[in-house]
Amino acid sequence: MPFIPHTDDDEREMLAAIGAPSIEALFDEIPPALRVQSLDELPTGLSEFEVLQLMAARARADGRPLCFLGAGAYEHHIPAAVWSTITRGEFYSAYTPYQAEASQGTLQSIYEYQSMMASLTGMQVSNASLYDGATAVAEGCLMAVRANRRSKSARILLPRSLHPHYRAVALTMALNQGLIFDTVPYARDCGHLDLDALTAHDGQDFTALVIQQPNFFGVIEEVDALTDWAHAREALVIAVVNPISLALLKPPGEWGAKGADIVVGEGQPLGCPLSSGGPYFGFMTTRMQHVRQMPGRIVGATVDVDGRPGFSLTLQAREQHIRRAKATSNICTNQGLLMMAGTLYLALMGAEGLERVAAASMARTAELVAALTVLPGVRRMFARPTFHEAVLALDRPVAPVLAALAQRGIQGGLDLADFYPELGPALLLCATETKNGADIAAYASALTEALRPARAA
């Protein structure tokens, strides 16, 4: 009973107070036939020491390769102060701040987070996080359908250059509600979303255009023209952005003449470790006019009965616990602690630090691409400017090359064969500010090696 404090005396006294002969008797309303007979499939319990030894061995087995993978999850430096602060019990082990008076720490942090995210994205309001980048895109699409009263079609234009997992999740989460997704192709030579490709939808009733900036290939889109095009057709614009990139790139609130309407994205780059894919957090910001259509929690500043300033959850009538079947979303538990990580990260980096992270990541990837594309058989796939990711075209299948790099302790990037077979052998890679010249040289030399035997053969 590792976590159960009851002594024999406690148990006896408690049963006496209840008036039950045994703990077993407390289950007497359960039909006997249903009772579990054995749990033999489960292993026996381990002590903390044993389980931590086991976990250390498993962790060791996975090692710490040099990672040049990006594709939606990015290795950035996380200040030590971030996790040592958010794992303080008062943040770590608290519930959702329904009892405002006993949760001012979490509530004020959320308010600060909302403020930072709104400003970073150039919007007016933010919620307190969604599950992750992919579900944020899906929720953004559902929200657009609610918010755009002019459109009847529930049709969303999704670029093929949007993260393939985000496209997949949007489909899973929105199809049951009758949304229609049209895929917009990217320009084969430059990797961007070409205005020309959109003309097919001219005259059509569609609800929103999704724009990912930079897109899945790392390519920087012409967001102004795209936004204006959609707005001219009374569609909303859903921006999908990497928050780090916003230190350098025009915020969605300033895209085109009127700015994007809904901004979503993956918060992971802001203080969340890669951790095999989660927990991360999805973010969403929008304009004040759409706030009542936004899913997720929102915190507002107010005052108490004595006039002292304080914070509480607000606009709860959008949420499931009040509005039930009519809520904007079924989300309840969100990714609060990760949002806290994002808040601390942004507080420590500030605008200038974030700019440096963005610029260094961009510079490193450029160096990496330069170092690799001097190798024969390796070239850049797309001609357009990129942020901190790029697609390389290889002269042979990517998978064996990656396997050879892995042998040398390097995770060389993502093979795009499954996602974009039309590209031929294509490798998506990324170097953030965590990679230095030596790391890039190590990649280049490992790749030289990896390409050699096949050449000789």
């Binding site: 976590f3 009851h6 408690m14 407390l26 289950f27 749990l39 499939e41 489960l42 292993p43 026996t44 319990g45 389980v51 976990m55 498993r58 996975d62 939606g72 102060a81 019990g89 008062e90 943040f91 082990s93 608290a94 519930y95 009892q99 008076e101 006993a102 001012q104 720490g105 979490t106 004020q108 930072m116 400003s119 309001v125 307190a128 992750d132 980048g133 992919a134 579900t135 997992h165 489909l171 890669l274 951790s275 095999s276 989660g278 927990p279 500043a301 002292r308 304080g310 039930r324 079924n330 538990t333 990714q335 609060g336 602690l337 990760l338 507080a347 980096m349 605008a351 400017p385 396997a403």
Partner: protein, 501 residues
Amino acid sequence: MSLALRERLIFEYSRPGRGARGQWPEAPARSALDALPDGLRRQRRPLLPEVSELDALRHYTRLSQLNFSIDTHFYPLGSCTMKYNPRACNAAALMPEFLGRHPLAPVAQGQGFLACMYELQEMLKAVTGMRGVALSPLAGAHGEFAGVAMIRAYHRARDDLERDEIIVPQAAHGTNPATATMCGCVAREVAVGADGDADLEALRAAVGPKTAGIMLTNPSTLGVFERRIEEVARIVHQAGGLLYYDGANLNAILGKVRPGDMGFDVIHMNLHKTFSTPHGGGGPGAGAVGVSARLLPFLPLPIVAREPAAERGAEAPQYRWLGERDLPQSIGRLTSFGGNAGVLLRAYVYMRMLGREGMRRVAEYATLNANYLSARLQQVGFEAAYPQRRASHEFIITLKRAEQDYGVTAMDVAKRLLDLGFHAPTTYFPMLISECLLIEPTETESKQTLDAFVNAMAQILREAREDPEQLHGAPHTLPVRRLDDVRAARELNLVYREPAT
């Protein structure tokens, strides 16, 4: 920190040019940005704090102290299973190799992690009696979505296209009807009987050819075990619907009775409740789903598979992710990557520590604590909503009488408890019991803590009689007193704005 002092906003510490420079990388040469098209560059910096590392750390440390939490307070929040979050789970999940592993890393560089995930799937199957488990849903409601989506996919696969009604009992958690809507279904509420069990007549009347399924939790959110669950299952199944188990209350029955054995077709588990991963002031969670045989093909992606050593002619078994090719009928992907891995690791460690023996003890002592607390509160004068029933892991107190007699509400009691050093129970849920408190002590609290809570509640009842103003005005000793929620919603102030200078 002295509570008299308000903690300022982080922005109020900010000064232009300040910063935690030790955290910043070197700025690359300006030319590194030449590739950025001018028109697409940011012109004005975002309004982020410019503060020192000390100021940031001190600010958030001070803020943390304004919170109640399990680590500092008894937190008997019904339906939320606020039990001790063992530190070992956190220590394991924070091992640098786990933290540093990229979600798209090759499976060869993830066998340690994937072994944990596979074993977690297997253990969850064993405790729920289901045939397959997927770990990717990111919270309970997300698991609910996966579950109802699978129900829909099941009917669709059978060309049974009319079934778009999800039945939910009146007492259901808000996520249940909200999920039905998210899945394009109609939520249909059915009444609960006076004894807390389902009203079978109402249920029979509700089911029919449009019934996709029913969402239940058992024990229900009324804190009692649905005794005729087999009958309920029969009625729904016979009508062609499937049974969804809302696993938020799994703590009550862990190792005692299994949803699979009760006839459920699909279940989501709140690993952040039953398996004690921290709630983090709002999240993250993990809402793994389990299914019976008929829903196996529809499980969401990805899932971890194990290829035994023998099959591969290898020394060790190999773990890998299953994708679309393996599960062509899957409802698809629900998450950017494989789920809240860090949360799953914590749950895995917790389950390994409990082991076979510990599992059923969770339910036993959670139930003992709830029944004890219910009995003692009734002794000191509180009224249970279902006094004739056994409590499960939680139970409901109704303050109807106190309201009538002294004008004291459930909210008053909740706020006064904060003053006395206890987090409030869940208030006004389930909605069908008026002036209710839903109380869930969990198995990790000692009898002494429960007794102290009873004393506090008895004091409050005394105050209700003698000094109700004390209660209306509560809390008195917290950083703020009751907040003006109406103003918060009417004069929306959702982001900080720089004062005009």
